[in-house]
């Protein structure tokens, strides 16, 4: 907490505002590019059919208390008996979702496209920020932080005497990267690129769980 730095207004006009505006515009551009590259695939009728059966079974389970026990049992047999039940899969034939995903080249291609449309603009923006704006103190966050945050917030400036709450331009870029996600979901609607990456992470990590998407 030494004396306050005086920041030049030219930094505001030529670093802070342009950087933020460019980040927003690149986010919008990325959204539309990934929308263009997304190939519309015709869903496999068999998979759709299976999904509908599962939805019906779930409805049955949820409404089990509202129908007579006999009717419920009849329906349960219809779904799960071992000869010709709709949900019964013979042992050994069940393939897991992940193996299925990798056997389908279109799926991998799609993921690749999404990945690329995410990584390329980020690398380019980072290189651009590094090239033009390295070494600026661009902003000051309005709350104090401990010394631990120095490497996070003053990335690119090697001065240990500057107060930690001053933010270098490279770190302002990172702040924008994380903080603008909410703004994008507001201006671009629900299906923007960041949502896709989250969904992708989940699909590659665990099984597909639609309820988890909302939690993130």
């Amino acid at each position: 907490m030494a004396e306050d730095l005086v920041l030049d207004t030219a930094i505001r006009d030529w670093v802070l505002i342009p950087l933020s505006v460019v980040m927003v515009l690149i986010g919008i551009l990325r959204h539309f590019v990934s929308k263009l590259m997304r190939s519309s695939q015709v869903p496999d009728p068999k998979i759709v059919k299976e999904g509908q059966v599962i939805v019906r079974a779930r409805n049955l389970r949820a409404g089990a208390n509202f129908i007579p026990p006999k009717a419920f049992r009849a329906r349960r047999v219809y779904f799960s008996n071992e000869e010709n039940g709709l949900l019964f899969v013979p042992k050994g034939q069940a393939q897991n979702a992940q193996a299925q995903m990798f056997s389908d080249p279109n799926m991998a291609m799609d993921m690749m496209k999404k990945n690329l449309s995410m990584i390329i603009p980020q690398t380019l923006t980072f290189a651009w920020v590094n090239f033009f704006f390295s070494g600026f103190v661009a902003a000051k966050i309005p709350f104090p932080l401990t010394q631990r945050f120095r490497s996070m917030l003053q990335n690119g400036i090697d001065l240990s005497t500057v107060d930690v709450s001053y933010v270098s331009s490279r770190s302002w870029y990172f702040l924008n990267l994380f903080g603008l996600r909410g703004l994008f979901s507001l201006i671009l609607g629900e299906e923007n690129a960041t949502d896709d990456t989250q969904r992708m992470m989940q699909m590659s990590g665990f099984g597909f769980d639609p309820s988890k998407i909302l939690c993130l």
């Binding site: 207004t9 505001r12 902003a139 966050i141 309005p142 933010v167 903080g179 629900e190």
Partner: protein, 116 residues
Amino acid sequence: MAGHTESGAYDKSTNDLQTTNAENLQSNMKVIYYSRTFLSIIAGVTAGIFGFTSVTGFIFYFLIMTITSIGLLSKTKFTVYSYFESWNQLVLDGFLGGLMSFVLFWTFAYDIVHIF
């Protein structure tokens, strides 16, 4: 999980078969997420213009989020369980995601108005 345990929450079983409709529930969650994000951005800009620093700003954020929760609660006509599965969803969902946006816009507005 939309089980039948929730049917106990209703006095009269006006609902048909399912007690919760998964799609409607998701749409409700989305509404919460949007309103919280929007309000955290607005709150960030407001806090920056007023020039709140350190703890005051975070208190302001908590205040706005509390007001949002109360607003959403009154929007559900104080019957949370007919729109959501639990109170946590209404009160806590999107809280941390909004904090990031709040800090960004707070810093931005504060710098433009007060620092330069």
